[in-house]
């Protein structure tokens, strides 16, 4: 395993992990209080200097509200904001820039689909299929929708290894299935879900598909045209961008058929007290002042990772995941949840006799940040028969030392607690 990691580090001139680490200020502020072995990127990633500077600069030299002013600063801000939309569209290979809607987060994007598409097109008795390993963000909005419309949730089970059965999924599709909403990648198990196949089967059934790409987009290249999904959502802060911004990709035709979700400035055409008319997507879905600088920051993050190369990042993380898996498996009493053939930079595990919360506290004392808990996936926890797990999740800036520190820290925790 060591060899593989060493290989990518020496092979690729573009991927120099030490140089990359230097570009993330927080990793270098090695105070006693701050963790330098940051293994919670799955919750939220750290930001490169490049992104922070872009945002700061915009506020200092080119900030004003967008779309509304006929003066230079507003034009600069509008160009930056609409330029960010273009960057996202190119990143996802969307057919049109109009298919990109900036939201407040992935959660905001999923709720938009539920509130607009869901309330407009789903009726009592209609069905939505999700998987058993969804994040709460891809469960609760459909439950709220169910309360409003009478639609029902059907759940594809997850097996021992953390995979869903495509056959089972297919057998659950009926003429009442109006939407399939599944994660691209599990935030607990790391499983990469075969979303392409799911889209094909759903479409053959006349069913629309939304993919929750909050984790997926971080760890693999996404091409929405190739994927064919009707909606794809992700969140900026996990992709090395700022908090406060997310993205909803939607097929233009579909978006233009959908009613507005929220009302306010900019999204309207003509407002009278009797009746208002709305503009086309994406504007129709961006009521009020959008997350202007946040969108520009997200675009900068995309530029940053594209500059490193998504393939390079994938290889690096893959090697690191293999190394981490083998290091952790050496620890007696440690069991890993999620052993799919297709998984990416996330490892959930528990250590016999040690609650993940205690483990996290002890690791923290050694500068190792991991997450402990249910990871906003309580139904999956229940299925796995646990209350909580420990989770280490990788970012492009992690290195072998981080993994070694994790393994050593776990051993130390065993000493203290047992």
């Amino acid at each position: 395993m060591n060899v593989a990691v060493a290989k990518v580090e020496s092979d690729s001139t573009t991927f120099n992990i030490e140089a990359i680490r230097r570009e993330f200020p927080i990793l270098n502020e090695a105070s006693e209080k701050n963790s330098v072995h940051f293994l919670d990127s799955g919750a939220s990633a750290q930001k490169p200097d490049y992104v922070l500077k872009k945002m700061d600069e915009m506020y200092r030299t080119g900030y004003a509200n967008v779309h509304r002013g006929a003066y230079t600063l507003s034009q600069l801000a509008t160009d930056a904001y609409e330029g960010a939309r273009k960057t996202v569209a190119t990143f996802l290979n969307a057919e049109s820039v109009d298919e990109i809607i900036f939201t407040r987060s992935a959660t905001g994007a999923i709720n938009l689909v539920a509130g607009s598409f869901g309330r407009a097109f789903l009726e009592k008795g209609d069905e939505i299929i999700i998987s058993e390993m969804e994040h709460h963000a891809n469960i609760v909005p459909w439950q709220l929708l169910g309360e409003a419309t009478g639609s029902k949730l059907k759940v594809v089970p997850v097996d021992q290894d953390g995979n869903i059965s495509i056959d089972t999924f297919q057998s659950m599709l009926t003429n009442k299935t109006k939407l399939v909403a599944v994660t691209h990648m599990s935030n607990v198990l790391g499983t990469i879900v075969p979303v392409r196949q799911i889209v094909e089967l759903a479409h053959a059934n006349g069913t629309a598909v939304m993919i929750d790409g909050a984790q997926g987009v971080v760890h693999s290249k996404v091409d929405v045209q190739e994927l064919g999904a009707d909606f794809y959502v992700f969140t900026g802060h996990k992709l090395y961008g700022p908090s406060g911004v997310g993205v909803l990709y939607g097929k233009k035709e579909l978006l233009n058929k959908m009613p507005p979700y929220e009302g306010g400035g900019d999204m309207i055409e003509i407002v009278t007290f009797e009746k208002s008319t709305y503009r086309d997507a994406p504007t129709k879905f961006e009521a009020g002042t959008p997350p202007i600088v946040e969108s520009v920051g997200l675009a900068a993050a995309i530029e940053y990772i594209e500059n490193i190369g998504q393939d390079n990042i994938e290889i690096h993380e893959d090697n690191l995941l293999k190394f981490a898996t083998s290091e952790l498996q050496k620890i007696p009493g440690l069991s890993i949840f999620g052993l799919s053939e297709r998984k990416a930079g996330i490892i959930s595990f528990n250590v016999e006799g040690i609650h993940s919360h205690d483990l996290s506290t002890i690791l923290d004392s050694r500068g190792v940040s991991i997450r402990a808990g249910h990871h906003c996936a309580q139904p999956l926890m229940k299925k796995m028969g646990v209350e909580a797990t420990a989770r280490a999740s990788l970012g492009l800036y992690n290195n072998k030392e981080d993994i070694v520190a994790l393994a050593e820290g776990i051993k130390f925790a065993k000493e203290i607690l047992t």
């Binding site: 006693e32 209080k33 040690i354 609650h355 993940s356 919360h357 205690d358 506290t361 002890i362 923290d364 004392s365 402990a372 808990g373 249910h374 309580q378 926890m381 209350e387 909580a388 203290i416 607690l417």
Partner: protein, 155 residues
Amino acid sequence: MSVDDLRELYQEVILDHNKNPRNYGELSDASYTADGNNPLCGDRLTVYLKLDDNELVNEVAFTGKGCAISIASASMMTTVVKGKTVKQVNDLFDKFHKLCTGESDEAELDEFEDEIAKLRVMSGVRQFPMRVKCATLSWHAVEAAINKKDTATTE
């Protein structure tokens, strides 16, 4: 946060209460029960209470899963609330909470002197603000039970 802080948090007494929790199990004839729920980490405890004719806590027990801190704290809680009135349990919780957050210190001598002396071993959580919720989870539940609510949720 140092290794000393850690050792202070995970003292022998706590590890012992965690491994051998006192009064663990259901009370089938409980007067009141309540769940304690920490939605952020998924820890859940149930507390069972029996009051006697004088409204004193006669029996108390708990079940559930959680980290060493929450289990040990629950176990210790059951050993100190027995024989107390509703008001005394509320007051004791208040004092214990202050102990965990560092709002009160060791010097306080009052009617709960003995109990606080016992519970003081938990005060290591002061150095770990995220863990205060763990230490107080069972207390929130007992407070809910005694005040006739179903659930307590900590953040």
